[in-house]
Symmetry: C2
Subunit: 500 residues, 2 copies
Amino acid sequence: MMTVQEALRKLTELQEKLRAYRHATSLIYYDGVTTAPRGTAANRGQTLSILSGIEYELMTGRETVEILDTLSAHPERLDEKTARIVYLMSKDLKEMAKIPQEEYVAYQTLLVQADDVWHRAKEENDYAAFEPILAQIVDTHIRFAGYIAPDKHPYDHWLNQYEGGLTMEKCDAFFAALRERIVPLLKKIAAVPQVDDSILRQHFPEEGQRKLSDYFMEVLQLPRDHCGIATTEHPFTIDFSKYDVRITTHYYENDFASSMFSVVHEGGHALYELGVADEDAYNELGSGVSMGIHESQSRFYENLIGRSRGFIELIFPKLCEIFPEQFAGRTPEELYRAVNRVEPSLIRIEADELTYALHIMVRYEIERKLMNRELTTKDLPAEWNRLYKEYLGVDVPDDTHGCLQDSHWSGGSIGYFPSYALGSAYGAQLIEKMRETVDVDKTVASGDLAPINAWLHDHIWQYGRLYEPSDLFEKAVDAKFDPAYFTDYLEKKLSEIYGI
Amino acid sequence: MMTVQEALRKLTELQEKLRAYRHATSLIYYDGVTTAPRGTAANRGQTLSILSGIEYELMTGRETVEILDTLSAHPERLDEKTARIVYLMSKDLKEMAKIPQEEYVAYQTLLVQADDVWHRAKEENDYAAFEPILAQIVDTHIRFAGYIAPDKHPYDHWLNQYEGGLTMEKCDAFFAALRERIVPLLKKIAAVPQVDDSILRQHFPEEGQRKLSDYFMEVLQLPRDHCGIATTEHPFTIDFSKYDVRITTHYYENDFASSMFSVVHEGGHALYELGVADEDAYNELGSGVSMGIHESQSRFYENLIGRSRGFIELIFPKLCEIFPEQFAGRTPEELYRAVNRVEPSLIRIEADELTYALHIMVRYEIERKLMNRELTTKDLPAEWNRLYKEYLGVDVPDDTHGCLQDSHWSGGSIGYFPSYALGSAYGAQLIEKMRETVDVDKTVASGDLAPINAWLHDHIWQYGRLYEPSDLFEKAVDAKFDPAYFTDYLEKKLSEIYGI
């Protein structure tokens, strides 16, 4: 029998090993989407299937079971952090042990292929090429949910994976609360003269946009020694540890806002990962706790800060310096209004703050139906297009601008999307709490965002995965979650802009 | 006891695992020198120390011993390739088992740090910052050689690691043969009017040079789906398997030849890796057999092809297209003479074909003295500068242009350098053999290098590590190695250019 002391030492070693494997597998993924030649996916699949097989053995092996059993039997010997680590790893172990190893490994291999196929399918508007793989991903999700939580609805299982405690019931209530306020507001806006956003639709050469990426990272105070930036089809953030975080963006020369808000959004994710406690750098607590909390940070910077009047005024001189012709004779107010223009559209990541939640609701409905087997992947594009028409009133011209636009499903993430809407709503409540001790507007105007970063660091980032997301959130705001903060914020901001 | 059949199956699995670990560790290295933010070396070190520890266990573990013992006991059951694999892995195992695991792992961690420190030291001309780490690398080499081959001179051990069968005795004879012909030729050249290479010293914007990199890769028929290119301080080639090879280059806007010949040189390495047999993609045979043979391929393309009159004539129209101003009114002959200009200089990778071997001899002398403890790392810069004066007649202005120029020592490669000179000489003999069946000049003039690639594929690439380097070479040329091919080639080419 292992002693507690021995188990504690081995637990540290085990976590460091898991970190090393995740560094390797994450980097192989990152390389695949940033740098790797196109014909190399099979090789990555081969490597990932082997490494994820070993990782699986490590997480579920006899020694791990013994370590966790030994420590679980002696809760009095564990400090708060270790107790949480034992809880999280035991939960993972129990879940993974229910998935046959060969299915787990086959799924990892499938995902490598899926990423590759999705990229090509999106580029060539070829949903048919992607559909068989998506069908396998959906089947795997239903099957794995059945192994792990046979009593739950499969979609409830997956929602809970991205946001501990989330269910369809909670989502339904949350989305209903949003819909109740968003739909009337959207109608009012549609009835008045629209905002002119031609300022964004000029030609902005990539080189200048790249310089601005560096500038935005500086404004957010992202430590460049530990945070890199690359270009990918779909922007994302990945961390190998809190000491090595990478964000990505994409540049559209005819759309100024796209990369700007991608960098600020991903910058928020990165700040969170960079901000976990040093002592947790290589253990199971050292990363963001849930996708909802993660999105609350990214969308905090993207929208609550990035689309605020103060932020636009702050960065305007730099924009004029880098794009003097494009911004000649323009005003910060014009840009502020343009980046807050409301318009039902096709692409989620370019949606305004108001209609964004509707994009999420489309995906939520579709995922739920897929998990329910009410919808097949073959019928997915038609359903997507139907819901876009119903919720947003737009006609989807092709799958590239429709159901192929996101990387989530090809990346194996079903149940992730609701986190975005949740994150927006979390953020709106967080900033109101922050205002009690930080003069947010004055801080943004000063150009030194340190007090904002410090508040988020103290209330969110440093804790990593120590608390359940809802507990962490309630501690931070000292209240229950209330989506009215978000809808109030939208109403106030947009009423002023649209004069309604 | 394991059955032969079981051992064969496990041998395949083991090799695939080793490949997966090497993919991961190589990619972590590659990321570190191409993309990673500067403050991330410690994290890479942490991960690499863990992964290399696991790799060590895998290579030396009880199961591996059993597999190899089982198969070694039944040579009659092994085909030629499997027998070679068992031989190579048994040799590695025996050697690794002699190195204490913690020393092996500590050394891998040291190398990550070394790379980082060397980059900064080179940038800031700060040898003192690098020296303590180099001292540790030297000590480790001497200690490890003592563990593995206590009866051998440590330098003989390390020479043999990069080129099976190579010894100081052979190097001495080889370098003496080169010196005997190179030194008089160099003197003759110094006595006549020098070649004008001002054509190379114009301003060549990086963007155009990048386009040319793509063009050169196309001319060499490198499959871009399996071969990427990136920019690094020091050009190199790395493979994750034959299906994923990366080359790197660097761009100097005031020196046209530097990147051009880096790309062609690294392209030769890449073709070799890309050309191993498909069936060996994930086993121990599926990579280049030795550094000498590797350099024979890279320097074949760089010099025997790349610096030939025919190649310069072939690419000249493209150069004019991309750099019309720079090449206006110039001729291919002018460029041919410029890229073959002989001039004793400071930087190895920019040295001409004739003086190149002298750069290698400096490093050979220094490595030998270090391994002999005749020279300390503290005294290394002075010795470097003394030998450059003696062999090449040049004054070294600073360590950045002196002993800090190469990445080999910081990368843990002592004993590698002689391979470059050997490779040049191998190449000269290979091309003469090739001429018996391929009209090399006509092939280059045609622009379709396929017959040249096919010859090298058939005689060298496809075999991977199946034969010992000297056996492979002798099979290919159907003769013993003779450095006179190389010196004859230099004498003929340069006599014509210099009219001597």
